[in-house]
Amino acid sequence: MTKETFSKLVLESEQTLYRISMSMLKNEADCEDAVQTAILTAYEKLSSLKKEEYFRTWLVRILINVCNKQLGRRGKIINLDDNEYTAEPSVPSHDKNVELKIALENLPQKFRQVIVLFYIEGFSVTNIKNILGIPEGTVKSRLSKGRSLLKSSLEA
């Protein structure tokens, strides 16, 4: 794969990279750091990608690993003041988008991650299994649980 093709594929995945990193790291500066590291890592490990059509899944997995490391370095306790998404919406509470955003952001990460990957990014259960390195049954149970938690939150 040439640098040009690699760049083209990265740019095609840009929205996905932004949404996934933001769902995990929750602030722009950390997302920019993470995506830069992920791109460099992916380019370095390009030989490990066996088929070009799996590029997006493969790149997402690298990004998630980078984000996890960043979370680890952050000490895992997120200061809510740093969080761009606060618990108190600044728009009327009947705005469904904001309610859903808050509900999603308040999910435990392991549920939020699979919800974002499945419903927003459109990855299949099998893809998610490979991205996160967890069994398929775990993906499904986390999706089920995540949906249930979102529903409870939005109905409250």
């Binding site: 794969m1 760049s7 990279l17 996890n68 999603l104 308040n106 435990p108 069994p135 649980k145 249930s148």
Partner: protein
């Protein structure tokens, strides 16, 4: 909430901001141009055992579009033992697939299963007695269909009732005489293949001759819901293990907390949307058992969500099968059938008694607390217990029976049991891991308890 509103979810995160886009562009610009990387072609064998074949496999490999005036099912030899199978549909498929079901004009009695008889499984069938006697069949949808096969020693092309059919003979390995067979019968009018696999050639041919497919009464399957194939990229196990979840990060940074059997550990858990509350967790004992005494069989959970793995490890009377023999296949490619070898693993079944005591009321313990098992070997590689076709490390076979919405009041104690299977090589280095999450703060705590001192 079966149908989350995708449009709403898409609007949760705003468009890519300029600063993010600039960060991407600047990183791409900084990359040094290198020689194009040649992709390794993926090799698969078509040898499917029942545990893996119980779900309909949908082949969705993209195929390089070749200029062709022909439509149909094609087999192209590759090397000495390789075979490429492709389908070029004669009509454009619609955005959605019509669900199809199998219709067997002939099926030996011993191949029929309860699910098949009851009509529950309409698009696959799986009968497995042992490695020398199995049969399975399913439907593959053929849009952009392509599969690479290895260990192919003979290919026959024929036609049954006007449907092109491939009959493929596989040899298991160069150091064995075992053969197995597959047929692919192409139903062009429905853009699907019926795939049959088995160990008895004559029965397979009889079944294939008479098998048909017809539209199912179920709703059509949207294309984007079909599972894609596995991402086939290669990673060294050590690379894989150094990435991943919070426990691994803690372990490799030397910060993982250790505890002993009998020791209470304090953990903060959080109900959804609430402040963290505290509980203590303790492993009371870990005992080796030869059977499932004291365990409620209906609570046995397996990784596949069904109890088929239970019967792999336990006899019907509940006694544990301590010795397992596996056939491992190695090194097959286009010019080599590879070899098989038998390995014997001696296994142990352990049951851990775990006590959880709430310091405050907890509404739903199941969302915030998990137990897992890991094995850590001397090179600091470790494995999350999960089943692979060839061998297992530490396998959690019995859940912690914490049900959904399990609440626990302040001062109450919940006793749970957890069963796991470890083989001789791993048992000395296996750990129970307690993981608790404080949801609003995304704070994870992990403790590891060595269960064989």
């Amino acid at each position: 909430m079966k149908n989350l509103d995708k449009k709403m979810l898409n609007n949760v995160y705003p468009e890519v901001p300029e600063s993010f886009h600039n960060a991407v562009i600047s990183t791409l610009d900084s990359l040094e141009a290198e020689k194009p990387v040649k992709f390794k072609k993926r090799r698969t064998t078509m040898r499917i055992v029942a545990a893996c074949a119980a779900v309909a496999v949908i082949g969705t490999f993209a195929v390089a579009a070749a200029a062709t005036d022909f439509f149909g099912l094609y087999a192209t030899k590759r090397g000495k033992y390789g075979l490429d199978v492709t389908v070029e549909n004669s009509k454009q498929s619609d955005s959605d697939y019509q669900s199809m079901k199998l219709k067997f004009g002939y099926l030996p009695e011993e191949y029929k299963t309860e699910e098949y008889e009851s009509g529950k499984s309409t698009n696959y069938l799986s009968m497995y007695e042992n490695e020398d006697n199995y049969f399975n069949a399913w439907i593959d949808y053929t849009d952009n269909y392509h599969d690479d096969l290895t260990n192919v020693v003979k290919t026959e092309e024929t036609e049954y009732n006007g449907h092109k059919t491939l009959i493929i003979t596989f040899k298991e390995a160069k150091n064995t005489d075992k053969m197995y067979y597959s047929t692919l019968k192409y139903f062009e009018e429905y853009n699907c293949l019926v795939r049959c696999n088995g160990t008895n050639y004559d029965e397979l041919i009889k079944i294939t001759e008479k098998v048909e497919t017809e539209p199912d009464t179920q709703p059509v399957i949207p294309k984007d819901v079909l599972d894609e194939d596995d991402v086939p990229y290669d990673r060294a196990i050590t690379d894989y293990l150094k990435d991943g979840d919070g426990f691994r990060d803690e372990y490799f940074s030397g910060n993982v907390k250790k505890a002993k059997i009998g020791e209470s550990v304090d953990m903060a858990v959080a109900n959804y949307g609430q402040e963290a509350v505290h509980m203590t967790a303790k492993v009371i004992s870990v005992k080796e058992q030869d059977n499932t005494d004291g365990l409620d069989l209906k609570d046995f959970l397996t990784l596949g969500g069904n109890d088929s793995l239970y019967y792999r490890y336990f006899n019907t009377d509940g006694t544990f099968i301590k010795r397992d023999e596996f056939t491992v296949h190695e090194d097959a490619d286009d010019y080599d059938l590879g070899t098989v070898r038998n390995i014997v693993i001696n296994k142990h079944f352990y049951v851990a008694d775990i006590e959880l005591t709430a310091q405050e009321d907890i509404d739903d313990l199941s969302t915030a607390f998990e137990t897992e098992v890991y094995c850590i070997d001397v090179d600091n590689k470790f494995f999350y217990g999960y089943y692979t076709p060839d061998y297992e490390y530490v396998l959690k076979i019995y859940g912690t029976n914490i049900n959904n919405k399990q609440s626990i009041k302040k001062g109450e104690t919940l006793n749970v049991k957890m069963g796991f299977i470890a083989d001789n090589d791993t048992v000395d280095n296996a750990y129970i891991i307690f993981s608790a999450v404080d949801a609003p703060n995304d704070y994870y705590q992990n403790y590891m308890i060595k269960f064989k001192e």
